[in-house]
């Protein structure tokens, strides 16, 4: 009798222990995520956080991350259904694809304002601001990109006759600036921040100089509508983990260390870049800021055929409130 009773007690104790540790016993939900531009601060914090703290695992999610070059490359993985989320894709691209009926939904803001995009000159250049660029060549990445739209707005506001030149990514742009092919280069985040600190280049403008952009959400997270319909609970947990990841990135030095290491830089430079170019509020998940300006830009860039009615805008942003209470 004694052995049978003990066995019953042991089984009961095991059952209680299993119930007390649901996380340990629960199978993780796999979420396939397409990332944009690995190692930028705003685009990679969720990944740093998961590596350092397992924040997504704590919410019962196992991340499968595919890094893309961002923009359409990232977006297309969700449209085709091969990935569940595309992180930090351009707002205008997301609006354009959604309006054309692509099976995607905007689920949160990720970058509001464009303080991380900046323009610079060689240290000995006579140019001190965009107002000095009459007849000079100023770089942007590629036509239709956020750097293109920002530069158009900054130049229009300054009233100069600037020659705008597509130069590709930041590294190719730096080469062209240093070899004298262009007068003003562009960069994003930490790239070339060491040269800035060493005084070899000088910053002359920021994306936030474009009228209205400081409050405009320029990058968003999107998800497949099929995924959201089937696994809304998983999506809610994913976004909760994402918000915790961003909080963690601004709460200590661990994320800065990872960011600096990934970019072969120092924690001091990383901190300066984070605090000046990516203030905490710029990475809020809601609300989507200055949507009217984004729609105007999408129309001007031929991504939208015409204005969206208020109910269409509400429909487009429906999941932002659902997933970010």
């Amino acid at each position: 009798m004694a052995f049978g009773k003990r066995l019953q007690h042991a089984v009961a104790a095991l059952a209680v222990a299993a119930l007390a540790l649901p996380g340990a016993a629960m199978a993780l939900d796999k979420v396939k995520v397409a990332g944009s531009q690995r190692n930028f601060w705003d685009t990679t914090t969720f990944y740093f956080a998961d590596q350092a703290t397992g924040v997504f695992k704590k919410k019962g999610i196992e991340l499968e991350v595919l890094w893309t070059k961002g923009g359409s490359d990232c977006q297309q993985t969700v449209v085709t259904g091969s990935m569940d989320f595309c992180m930090h894709t351009g707002m205008l691209g997301a609006i354009g694809a959604w309006a054309k009926g692509a099976p995607i939904a905007i689920v949160s803001a990720t970058s509001t304002g464009a303080g991380d995009i900046w323009w610079y000159v060689k240290a000995d250049s006579p140019i001190h601001s965009i107002k000095d660029t009459n007849g000079k060549s100023v770089a942007f990445s590629r036509p239709g990109s956020s750097t293109n739209l920002l530069l158009n707005a900054i130049v229009a506001a300054s009233g100069t006759s600037t020659k705008k030149v597509s130069t590709g990514g930041p590294s190719g742009t730096l080469t062209q600036l240093m070899s004298g092919q262009i007068d003003v280069g562009w960069s994003a985040g930490i790239f070339a921040a060491d040269l800035l600190q060493q005084g070899k280049i000088r910053r002359i403008a920021s994306g936030n100089d474009a009228p209205g952009v400081q409050t405009q959400t320029i990058r968003v997270n999107i998800a497949g509508t099929g995924f959201l319909k089937e696994k809304l609970d998983v999506a809610k947990r994913f976004m909760a983990a994402y918000r915790e990841a961003v909080d963690w990135a601004y709460s200590g030095d661990k994320a800065l260390e990872m960011y600096a290491k990934a970019n072969k830089s120092t924690v001091e430079i990383a901190r300066s870049v984070r605090d000046k170019m990516y203030p905490r509020d710029s990475m809020r998940t809601k609300p989507i800021g200055n949507i009217e300006l984004s729609i105007q830009q999408a129309i001007a860039d031929k991504r939208l055929p015409g204005p969206l009615k208020p109910e269409r805008i509400r429909e487009m942003l429906h999941y932002v409130d659902v997933l970010n209470p």
Binding site: A102, P143, T167, T175, Q176, Q181
Partner: protein
Amino acid sequence: MHRWLAPAAGFAVLVLALAALEWAASVGWVSPFLTPPPSEIAAAGWRMAAEEPLASAFFSTLGVVLAATVAAAVMGIPAGWAMYRFPLLGNAYENWVAALFSAPLILLYPLFLVLFGRGPLTIGMIGFLSGVIPVILKTYEGFTAVPVVLVNVARSFNLPESALLRKVLLPAALPTVFTGLRLCFIYTTINVVGLEYLVDVGGLGFMVGLMYDRYDIPAMYAAVTFVLLISMLGFSAAERLERRWGRGA
């Protein structure tokens, strides 16, 4: 057999394939976000022609491809002949040139941007470099494959070197030289369009990238169709030239 039968059969297969794609898209077997129906692609082509600088992009790409191909032919055919005529050169450089054939020269574009600036010259130089290699190799191969007996007979008639080249070597090597020119055209087109896509200096490659960024998938396919048109024009021209020069030789 009627001479129009083969092209008609080719065209019929193309029409059938397009009709099948149209039907598959209409019943939802193919997602329009991956491959739009051909009717939408055609409509997007018209729209692009009206709203975008499609014609100038087409002629820009065609012009760069043709210039690079002609330059590759002008430099490559004499180089291939020299490697045949002077065996020391052939033995010394054949493997080097063959190794360059597999090198991804397009990856050197940042260097070319610095050397030649952001413009058609950089695109043309990359196109030329990728196209000249098959011309050299195939010309060399064509000349070395000429039967020795033909050369010996010509020499027995005391044919001078220039006449030997013009009347014996070139006609015998012509089919292989043209294979090199066709390969040259293919590689040049791929590299020119690829680089236009990468560095945004205009042309059809740029249009493909722009439409992709705008998420205008039918227009993107329409731009790709114009790249195919350039390819077809090039092949047709090579075929006519080969026939004409083959008859003349």
